[in-house]
Assembly symmetry: C2
Homo-oligomer: 386 residues x 2
């Protein structure tokens, strides 16, 4: 087991109607709030009214910055930084899913930094402090509500880069499963793929001997698949929505990742896809992950066999057949919940694979920790995804 | 799923030699440290020297209070409170296992309270604040290094009561598995029983529909049993000690307990045992838990069947037979690692069962949440433990 630090300061407040606690929780960090959100859905659903009523009741002042898009953009982050500085915001309240939270985290770090916030994402600087970020979660997917990471897209070149830093962990997250009952089936499925991918990235690791973490990863994958099916069949089930919401948090708060390095190639490759094509991150992962598995499984058949046996209860066949059957079952599961598993199924043409492979390998010689990929082998993964 | 708050602010720093970070971590909370520990083993092992060197290097002043006994006593807690006040301690550094940490937590809460610290344990008051507590962990067992709980024994009547409060969570815990390689086999086994019991108390719950938590509980129980065997066979294995140490933390930091209530009868009953007989808590649990299971399993055969199937891979027999076989396998496991599973095996006479049952039920009409026990039914559990 590798040495590690596990630090999870985010207070998760989970259950029905918890969004009404936004004001009292934010009040612990000051009186001036930047309210950050995406499109108009929170206004249509009445969530905006409930959250602002809660802020008002707690005696807070706020400014608003809406308009966060999926694959959140650097330009809006910069606008947020200016707004926080003008308004002297004490806390940023992100009302939304992963994109809104990631955007809020970028603003939070950028406010405390004299340089260009993109430095944090390009690797030119590392954030030591950030404004507090609070969350009202509306989509179960990214796990950003308790993670230390943020992914931002720079429109200048369509680079989509991630950043991980402890100071980015939200100070609180209000997680009400009821709010996710109206998430449409396709977005629900994308969220399921995203959280499953967060576990799998941690599961495929070069380190052995982290049995507690292995078992917990498998437990979570089984629960995500079972409850994923349940929530697709019965979108209004509070219980199924609650399982999926909590699973999404646990999948990315690092409790299933400690003591070893994850792989993260599939995320890196997917970022190239969604930077260019604006495909939902979860759908991109449903395409890239099985392709990546087909490319790397021979490197470590015992591990892929363990995955197949313990997560999908595959029993029959040679070791390699069992390993391959596990990958096939994962693909079937993604198809079953309505996701594409090839580029063609997602309507993505095959003419920019070279460009994506090049950009993926651009920042470092190697992509991935479990199996190191190069520009060439990233290209091969994309080929398998066609 | 019940509504819940998950708040885990403790920074877990895990790996070889992490005790040398004690000074730099404590320094974040002030300059005056109460160093709290048990018997002389930390001096013999050289740990005391390494920790104090680290404090010295960080420029910290400290006072010492050793002598914490297993089942930590109220009288020493009171001594610690006086010492902290006289010295104006900024932080308490607990170097030891669950008893030392629990004692430190009691002191930390007591320092901030004008009344008698026992009020917090008897239910007469609730702590809102406490001095920060840091930990150097030497035994994998109690999970107190990241939990919000503390158990103290009042010598006046030999009452052993627990307290849970967020302000009791340590601010940091330095967890070096190497330090546990010298823990003798019996204490190692007691620790394994303790952490397994922490998961089982959460697993046997009246709430349904917490599948993520169920699966994670099962994952952890499997990992504890597998690695428990490994560590008993090879006490110097860093890898096995690391699995067990991390499992002990996860078993009680509440990640496997959210969204539902646990039972905790077995802990309540065991507290009566170890308050009178000073048996190790883990050994007491190895006696009480199987007896409790035999008393309650008919109440919920499907759940005991799931436990048997998923944790011990029991397959053959009627539902009731499978359920009973799971309990038998748990008993066998405890015996295998060298623990008593009856009062007689532990050399405990049977003449004070009435008194223990009475004290157990003394504070409330009911004991337990999964199955409510009364004085009479606690007596029946103890009878099954004979």
């Amino acid at each position: 087991m590798n040495s590690f630090t596990f630090f999870h300061p985010t207070r998760i407040i989970f259950g029905k109607d918890v969004e009404n606690q936004a004001g009292q929780e934010a009040r612990k960090y000051g009186t001036r709030v930047l309210l950050h959100y995406g499109g108009g859905s929170i206004k249509q659903s009445g969530l905006y009214d409930r959250v602002t009523a809660s802020l008002r009741e707690a005696g807070l002042e706020w400014r608003e910055l809406g308009g966060v898009q999926p694959n959140p953009r650097l330009s809006l982050v910069k606008e947020g930084i200016s707004l926080c500085r003008e308004f002297a915001a004490d806390i940023i309240l992100a009302v939304g899913g992963g994109s809104v939270i990631d955007s809020a985290k970028a603003i939070a770090a950028g406010v405390m930094y004299d340089g260009d916030v993109w430095d944090f994402y390009s690797g030119g600087a590392f954030p030591q402090k950030a404004l507090p970020v609070g969350v009202v979660l509306t989509i179960s997917a990214a796990g950003s509500e308790a993670s230390n990471s943020s992914v931002i897209t720079n429109e200048d070149g369509w680079y989509k880069f991630g950043l991980s830093a402890d100071c980015l962990r939200p100070v609180f997250s209000l997680c009400n499963p009821q709010l996710t009952c109206t998430v449409p089936p396709y977005q629900t499925a994308c969220g399921i793929a995203d959280m499953l991918a967060h576990v799998m990235e941690r599961y495929f690791t070069p380190q052995r001997d982290v049995d507690v973490t292995d078992r917990m990863c498998e437990a979570l994958m089984i629960a995500i698949i079972e409850n994923g099916r349940r929530v697709m069949a019965d979108p209004n089930s509070y219980e199924a929505r609650a399982e999926i919401m909590w699973a999404g948090t646990v999948a990315h708060n690092d409790i299933v990742g400690v003591g070893r390095s994850g792989d993260w190639s599939s995320h890196r490759i997917e970022h190239e896809l969604s930077a260019i094509y604006d495909i939902a991150h979860g759908a991109g992962l449903a395409i890239v992950f099985p392709a990546w598995m087909k490319h790397v499984y021979k490197h470590d058949i015992p591990r892929f066999k363990q995955f197949a046996e313990r997560v999908f209860e595959v029993t029959a066949g040679s070791d390699e057949e069992v390993a391959l059957e596990g990958i096939a079952r994962l693909e079937s599961f993604f198809r079953e919940i309505g996701l594409p598993v090839t580029l063609s199924e997602a309507g993505i043409p095959h003419d920019r694979l070279d460009e994506m492979a090049k950009k993926c390998a651009w920042r470092s010689a190697d992509v991935g920790n479990y199996v190191k990929l190069t520009e060439d082998t990233v290209r091969q993964v994309l080929e398998l995804a066609k």
